[in-house]
Symmetry: C2
Subunit: 452 residues, 2 copies
């Protein structure tokens, strides 16, 4: 085997990078569980026809086939593809298990997803998503559209300590957009949303041209859409500004009014529960056609060019088997994009690259059992420990610890007591494996903001 | 979408099953980290030519292609397959990152793997493996062949509390087998190992026939192989019995002697460090051709028919780029098989199906902010909490908690103090969200042996 090279779009972390990622995942999980979300995992594959229900992303699906399938299975498995998000599989899981779930059902799900996109601009072909959703049976109270983005704000806020920048959650409501577009005479709502969704990438002039070319808009209608998209703010005046704009175009839409009322509630509640975090931004469109109410995007303040790291919205018909419908609302964090940014921008670092706080030295191979016994005693009290790989000179064993960032080296006593050395300070003291412990700070590797 | 049905071979757990699986994974991770193993993850895909190096399993590989690849990429990705274990990807990771790793490198890796086998007999097409391996640069001391199975014994032993049966680790040494086979004149060692590996499935008579038919053995040679495979024991006499058998066939093999010396050391050390756990069993073959020293299988005592739930061995040339070789030793737990068994045999249960210990009731939607404030106060002290989905009658809210196994319902006081009710006992007391806490037992869902 020649030395292999990385596959573009399939990120892997070195052990210290994985410590960062694991810390992020543990922190998210804890917040989700404190809010009562149950963890589930779904299989990585779904029938291809389910995956293709979301037209736009179909091109990104990886299809599976068994290497030898022709001879054995008649190609049955060729109808399976890898999931490209966790929302579609979750909807399927809910339908499949509805009889065993208690509704409203709140779940979090942290798994890899795959998209066969061209790897570029920080886009990955394999990446980790962390999702929360709540679905009801038949209906779902509106307050969850307020609650869920705030849970995500709290989860991401819990990462501030390691140097994750402040987040800003940008919210909009599909009903506002749809009511407004229809009110000014644009009925191909999806085409309008797809064009508006490109605002940050191509700018207002090109979006105006797109609206004319692809959504059948006049110049005036296109201008009205851009005027709506330009409205943003974090207090109730934003609602008034939308109403004023709508009135100036003669829009009279019940749908828009319902959306504005919801959007107003969201901003108001968020201003109380998480001041400064949630901003109404009427340009937020989200490409996906299954959203029916609130939609969300999240940017890191100061890193807006990274795009949204946490997006989602309300959906009403994603999980439906005809007889029963399970409306939901959810958001998804792009964990790999976030972790990749934290590492590549040098924002965070791990205090060491291995779990062990202590390396137990081995004087010679005959006394290895004594070193193993020390390690067992320390581990039994929850202290992570390695035993030296060989009975090399102690200087080499200390170097082994130093290279990994292990702070302590333990020397089992031949005749006298054991000793433990803090190799950072050089301080060496008598120690008993039945009672000694490192400080809480040193016990496990920690993730901290990088210096400078 | 019609109501979907499960895909055979792709297991998914309901929320309470996932609590069991998550508990198993958390427990394994903690043990691995206490022993200094660093966690890594590798991408799910590997180049197909790497996956096919292990001839025997090639038929099980799932190959990926992008749904639209012909038009875009010229089919480049058709050379990627999903990994079917974590050893091959780890070997590739070590070669790719050798310059950034400190050796000996100890890692654990917990991920899903995929095999396109016919789903039957508890075999899955997608399942979770939990692996530990240590690799050296150039060489690797023998003591790791003793250490690693004992780490696995400890990890599995940490699950005894939830009802996982006692484990027995069966060990053998490839050198013993190879030296013996060659010593009696059988040079197609792999063919012999493949036949012996089927002993538990088809019995000694059919294995003897296989040895004759496929390994070119005479009746006498076949009988000698079966006699060797019949030897097992947990003390040094097992070594003597192998020597006696070899002598009776005139075998004089340095390779076998080296293997016996290693096997003897392993049994001796294991008897001290984990009495009763490790048994030498000369029939353990392991189908994979990359093992060169110790090989391991693990059975649950009383559930031997389940087969091995944790297997592995020593390998010398798996990770080699020609210039550098990284010999290793590792074991892999089949987590899905274990968890599936725990759940289907009714051995374990979760104390509830959701994380929340407390449901905060909502008297009416106008007072929801007060209920949210109680939840925030409790969560800030690490207590998992749900807020009632609607301001239904309290009886219905209590039922909501009861259906999920949430033990406490909290009633924010309108004029007087808040109250909290233990819905199991019916006891209801005044409580302050700034100070009240559930017992440690009730705080998080726990996994416990199932009654009966």
């Amino acid at each position: 085997m020649a030395r292999p090279t990385p596959l573009s779009g399939f990120p892997e972390w070195l052990p210290d990078g994985r410590i960062v990622e694991q810390h992020v995942l543990d922190t998210l999980r804890r917040t989700f569980e404190l809010h009562g979300f149950a963890g589930i995992e779904t299989r990585a594959v779904e029938p291809l026809d389910q995956l293709l229900r979301k037209g736009e992303t179909s091109k990104e699906v990886y299809v599976l086939r068994r290497l030898q399938e022709e001879g054995e299975d008649g190609g049955k498995d060729s109808r399976l593809g890898l999931h490209f998000d966790l929302t579609v599989p979750f909807a399927r899981y809910v339908l499949e298990n509805a009889g065993h779930l208690a509704f409203p059902f709140q779940r979090y799900q942290i798994q890899k997803v795959w998209r066969g996109e061209r790897p570029q601009d920080g886009r990955f072909r394999e990446f980790v998503q962390a999702d929360i959703d709540v679905v009801g049976a038949g209906d779902l109270p509106y307050h969850y559209e307020v609650d869920l983005p705030l849970v995500m704000a709290e989860a991401l806020g819990a990462l501030r300590g390691i140097g994750v920048p402040e987040v800003r959650i940008l919210v909009n409501n599909r009903r506002v957009a749809e009511g407004f577009y229809r009110g000014i005479g644009l009925d191909d709502v999806e085409a309008v949303l797809r064009s508006i969704d490109k605002l940050d990438k191509i700018g207002p002039e090109k979006v105006a041209a797109l609206l004319v070319a692809e959504a059948g808009a006049t110049e005036t209608q296109a201008r009205a859409c851009l005027d709506l998209a330009a409205i943003s703010g974090s207090d109730a005046t934003v609602i008034d500004r939308v109403r004023a704009l709508a009135a100036s175009h003669g829009v009279d839409s019940e749908l828009m009014e319902q959306g504005l009322s919801e959007l107003g509630q969201l901003i108001e509640a968020a201003a109380v529960r998480a001041p400064g975090v949630v901003v109404a931004d009427l340009k937020i469109a989200r490409g996906l056609d299954y959203y029916t109410g609130s939609v969300y995007e999240t940017v890191l303040v100061g890193h807006e060019q990274l795009g949204s790291i946490c997006s989602g919205g309300r959906y009403d018909t994603l999980a439906s088997d005809g007889a029963n419908t399970y409306p939901g609302v959810g958001l998804s964090i792009g964990v790999s994009r976030l972790v990749s940014r934290l590492i590549s921008a040098g924002l965070v670092t791990a205090t060491r690259s291995v779990p062990a706080a202590v390396l137990v030295a081995v004087a010679n191979e005959d006394t290895r059992p004594a070193s193993d016994a020390v390690a067992t005693a320390l581990r039994s009290r929850g202290i992570p420990v390695e035993v030296a790989p060989t009975a090399a000179k102690f200087g080499k064993q200390i170097k082994h610890a130093d290279r990994r960032g292990i702070p302590f080296v333990w020397f089992p006593g031949a005749d006298g007591p054991d000793q433990v050395k803090d190799i950072r300070s050089g301080e060496q003291v008598d120690a008993d494996a039945a009672t000694w412990a490192p400080s809480d700070e040193d016990r496990w590797p920690r993730v901290v903001p990088a210096a400078g």
